[in-house]
């Protein structure tokens, strides 16, 4: 295990950005800093610590505690160093007799209203108030006992100023008795998170931190439990419950969050092999010290009692599980896979790599398919989320990835957010975007639902285009028409970077009246005027960026929509400079990485087609076996082939296809038709109900490796504890491969990365030493870009000229009609993550215990549905029941739900429609009917009983 001690000091105020350098003297030490820097920060840079309480470099200076006062030659009095900017030639003294007296007096006042239970306090050893009392040499408090906020009782009875602890949040405690009202928490909630849930109520001695209204607790307030307030609190007022329970951590392991595609860097604060808390890293280049509820708090699943730690097998899926040794399980799995190939052909088996596992693990699973099983039947969960991004951006720009880093959002003048709900799905990015919106950047949201981003405080008016699900292409093409018709395009950019004649052909295509806002209004229900306003705002903004999510890709025209997005960016020149770009918000932590690592059946790592002889030669040499030049099966094709009796075996690592893939019945019938299904996971997930072999997996806290986030950033994942199941996931894959004759002998994931770098041009410069040194790098990372590439397509597109693709709207086959008059669309919620296997095994259930159906009040009234009623949602694929929430966030004709809970199983309802180019399922549009119901559907009853049957485990045989 590696420990990292990185000087993570607090400079007191945030860094200033300026090209002008200012020189000053602090306590006789010369220091040069950018103009706009505070005296406090300049002193810190000079290595001098100025005492402080209300200042922290997470938030802007406030100047309330008066502890950081200094003397500056030529200036009167004792200014606060946090709020005083530097000036040329300034001479600063941070320690004088006058200052020492003032500071001691300030501390004496603070301590006079603070309990002195330091020894038993949860912040003991990690308390800035304690540190400052020491720093200023406070030795006595001269004030007589009097009015205070900390004593429960005084001589006369209960203390009217005392407030009990707020323990409503399951992850942290608010103890008002210890609060010094520095308002760091209030400012972090505003400036860092952007939620504005906290405030200071009252004035003077009556000032108190308050979550929401007087009657609110932290849980009932707007608080989203991101942990920013807890992180900045200098005392034990806001503190993690785990710290209260366990004590002070003793070492730190720097790692990467395993939830969404933002890929936040975290410091795992450990005591031995136990995580005490996860704190977002200030030097994390994706998150810049911020976190959300999931990464910060919802990691308890890693030690949940439901985790299966032993390999298990069974002859038939109707049998109970039998716990066996690793040898027995691996032999059973290998023998059955080989038998399926012997009986039905080499291509009768396949693998699914995991977008939750590391790059190295993913690489090995696809290598197992291609080099050991001898088939290109490998796919990954990206199939069901961002495969259209890969296809669309590769066709238009030349690379299957987003163009910018997250830092770029700080320079954008307008963000166009399409089919994404960042405050729930990508919360840390959302906070960074909100910060920019509060500074005045414009916002356009194209989404069937009124998402929370539109309700950003202090933002100004955002434009919302509430389109009918399935009409993305029509709306974006119409926006392009407006840009062309009104000549708002960037001719210089197009001439220089794209093919002008091709643009003219696209312009001619666009100018057809069928793409006019008026025509598109009929299909999309978006008022023509709104389409025009959005097009003009996007084209006219000096730097406009596009961020999109699965509301773009998970459609029958997902790939076309991605190309329409790329066209908009190209025609307006919004590529290649900070603040612009086309940025897919990736769903899972390593969706980008799993795609990069050759998980798709048609391409090797680095997006090189299997039919390319030169690439194949590289791998044939590296792996020492002949390789197939033919594309293999994608996940939906595997299911179809299984039902045709020709696909018989599957090795599925870290993906719960039964819950996450569309048309559940189709998936379960396909799995039931196979001879061998091997599931490798932390838990007995829904897919394991149809498996013959269960191989226990390891959590991200238990392994070394890398994840690649939505910005192409390769982040280190570091082992913080021993795998509870005995092996890291790559080791399990290696053991399975070796049972089938592979002879692999990797002893550490760094060796796998060496192989990746050796065989993949865009990863040629990547190695663990570089990642340890730099923290992270963004691919391409090679000779041309030794430290990686934050911004792509700066001087030219990777493919040469940018490619305009015609984007004709084709209505999905999934249309609402008399039987199924409503359109169902799906999404996720902040506190839960995808199939919920992780978050449902944490206290996040407090926020979201069940999936609910959002329905417009008029649609509900027509059906006699009241708020909170059980309703049945039926499509041509199946039906399920859940409870209804009446809301105007969805338009009439549209209903919405999440898919986090296996008992509701939204995917029983979704269909097998898919994207024309990639077979990415059309999750976002399903024609449904909603009717009142009084309980679980027949399917749900059956499923529950089948699930209970499938999860039986026989007691281990006596040794």
């Amino acid at each position: 295990m590696k420990d990292f001690i990185i000087p993570d000091r607090d400079y007191g105020t945030p860094a200033a950005k300026s090209d002008v350098t200012v020189n000053l003297l602090v306590d006789g030490i010369a220091v040069s800093v950018p103009s706009g820097t505070s005296v406090m920060r300049a002193a810190a840079i000079a290595g001098i610590t100025v005492p402080k309480l209300c200042a922290t470099d997470h938030v802007s200076a406030f100047g309330s505690c008066r502890l950081c006062v200094v003397q500056i030659e030529g200036m009167r009095g004792t200014p606060a160093s946090c709020t005083t900017p530097v000036s040329e030639g300034m001479v600063v003294h941070t320690q004088t007799e006058d200052i020492a007296r003032i500071r001691k007096g300030v501390m004496e006042l603070y301590i006079s209203d603070h309990p002195l239970d330091c020894l038993t306090c949860a912040a003991n050893g990690d308390c800035e108030l304690q540190d400052m009392a020491g720093a200023v040499g406070l030795r006595e408090v001269r004030y007589e006992p009097g009015a205070n906020h900390f004593a429960r009782r005084d001589a006369e009875g209960p203390n009217p100023e005392y407030r009990p602890k707020d323990q409503s949040n399951p992850y942290f405690t608010f103890d008002p008795a210890k609060c010094i009202v520095c308002s760091r928490c209030v400012r972090a909630c505003e400036e860092v998170q952007g939620t504005f849930a906290l405030t200071i109520e009252g004035r003077g001695f009556d000032s108190r931190v308050s979550a929401g209204m007087f009657s609110d607790s932290f849980l009932s307030s707007d608080c989203v439990s991101c942990g920013a307030c807890v992180q900045v609190c200098p005392t034990a007022t806001l503190i993690e419950n785990k710290v209260i329970e366990i004590g002070t951590p003793e070492h730190i392991v720097k790692t990467t969050c395993a939830y969404c595609g933002v890929g936040c860097s975290f410091d795992a604060h450990m005591r031995g092999e136990e995580v005490v808390r996860m704190v977002p890293s200030k030097d994390g280049k994706a998150n810049r010290g911020h976190s959300c509820i999931k990464g910060r708090f919802a990691w308890g699943y890693a030690t949940h009692q439901d985790r299966q730690l032993n390999p298990m097998i069974r002859e038939k899926i109707s049998d109970p599980w039998q716990v066996v040794t690793w040898d027995e399980a691996l032999d059973f799995a290998a023998t059955r896979m080989r038998k399926a190939q012997a009986d039905y052909g080499v291509d009768a088996v396949g693998v699914i790599t995991s977008s939750r596992c590391t790059n190295e693990e993913t690489y090995l699973v696809q290598k197992l398919a291609r080099a050991v099983l001898g088939t290109n039947n490998t796919d990954t969960c990206a199939r069901v989320c961002h495969s259209p991004t890969g296809y669309g951006l590769r066709t238009t720009f030349g690379t299957s990835a987003g163009t910018h880093d997250f830092d770029s959002v700080e320079e954008t003048d307008l963000a166009l957010v399409i089919g994404a709900n960042p405050t729930d799905g990508h919360p840390v990015f959302a906070s960074r975007l909100r910060k920019r919106l509060r500074q005045g950047a414009g916002l356009i949201v194209v989404d069937p639902r009124e998402i929370d981003l539109l309700k950003t405080p202090h933002m100004g008016q955002g434009l919302h285009l509430p389109l009918r699900p399935g009409t993305n292409v029509a709306v974006l093409t119409s926006m392009a028409q407006v840009i062309v018709a009104e000549k708002l395009y960037d001719e210089d950019f197009i001439r220089a970077r794209c093919d002008w004649d091709e643009f003219l052909a696209y312009a001619e295509f666009l100018l057809d009246p069928r793409h006019s806002p008026e025509e598109v209004e009929k299909l999309s229900k978006v008022p023509a005027d709104l389409i025009r306003q959005a097009a003009r705002a996007y084209a006219r903004a000096p730097r406009a960026s596009i961020y999109y999510g699965l509301g773009v890709t998970e459609h029958s025209q997902g790939s076309t929509t991605v190309m329409a997005i790329a066209n908009l960016a190209m025609m307006t020149g919004n590529i290649g400079v900070p603040g612009t770009g086309v940025n897919p918000l990736r769903g899972q932590n390593n969706v980008q990485g799993s795609c990069d690592m050759g998980s798709f059946p048609h391409e090797y790592p680095g997006y090189r087609h299997v039919s390319d002889a030169a690439t194949r030669a590289i791998y044939e040499k590296a792996w020492g076996v002949p390789l197939s030049p033919e594309p293999g099966l994608r996940i939906p094709n595997m299911f179809d082939e299984a039902l045709a009796g020709r696909f018989r075996g599957l090795y599925c690592q870290g993906e719960d296809i039964v819950q996450s893939d569309p048309d559940t019945r189709h998936v379960t019938s396909a799995l039931s038709a196979m001879d061998i299904v091997i599931v490798q996971d932390l838990f007995l997930n829904e897919t394991s109900n149809y498996a013959h072999v269960f191989l226990p997996g390891s959590s991200f806290l238990e392994k070394d490796g890398t994840f690649t986030n939505a910005e192409r950033r390769i982040n280190m994942v570091r082992r913080a504890m021993t795998p509870k199941n005995g092996y890291e996931d790559w080791q399990v894959t290696q053991m399975l491969a070796n049972r089938m004759g592979a002879n692999w002998d990797y002893s550490h994931p760094s060796q796998i990365m060496e192989e990746i770098a050796l065989t993949t041009p865009s990863f040629a410069g990547v190695n663990y030493d570089l990642l340890d040194r730099e923290g992270s790098v963004q691919w391409p990372c090679n000779e041309k870009a030794p430290l990686g590439t934050p911004l792509m397509h700066v001087d030219g597109f990777v493919r040469g000229k940018g490619h305009f693709i015609h984007t004709e709207y084709v209505a999905t086959e999934e249309r609402s009609g008399p039987r199924f008059p409503l359109l169902l669309t799906t999404g996720r919620i902040l506190s839960q993550y995808n199939v919920g296997a992780q978050t449902r095994r944490t206290d996040n259930l407090v926020w979201h215990p069940e999936d609910i159906l959002e329905i417009h009040p008029s649609d509900a009234e027509n059906r006699g549905v009241r708020d909170g009623d059980w309703v049945r949602v039926a499509s041509r694929s199946g039906d399920t029941t859940l409870r209804a929430l009446l809301t105007e966030r969805v338009a009439p004709g549209v209903v919405y739900t999440t898919f986090h809970h296996p008992t509701t199983q939204a995917n029983v309802v979704t269909t097998d429609n898919s994207d024309w180019a990639t077979n990415c399922p059309e999750f976002k549009v399903t024609a449904v009917q909603v009717s009142p119901s009084n309980g679980p559907s027949e399917w749900q009853e059956e499923y529950r009983s089948h699930s209970d049957q499938s999860r039986r485990i026989l007691p281990a045989a006596a040794e």
């Binding site: 099966l633 994608r634 004709e808």
Partner: protein
């Protein structure tokens, strides 16, 4: 929906995209199928069209450009 009609449906979706692109839509559909479908899927699909399955004219015109491996 049966396996047979699903392949044709997928090809039709491709035709719907490529019919508005410059160039030969039939060749483009075939190119996409060659790049992304397994040999067996291509074999089945060509067989279905050959045995007279109903399909969009572009889909039918794509068939001669589809690579069919001998072993499939």
């Amino acid at each position: 929906m049966s396996h047979d009609s699903k392949l044709i449906r997928m090809a039709t979706q491709m035709a719907d995209f490529f019919r508005s692109q410059p160039g030969s839509p039939a060749e483009a559909v075939a190119g996409h199928i060659n790049a992304f479908w397994s040999p067996r899927m291509r074999h089945d699909f060509v067989g279905q069209i050959a045995s007279g399955a109903e399909a969009d004219p572009i889909v039918k015109a794509a068939v001669p450009f589809i690579r069919v491996a001998e072993s499939a």
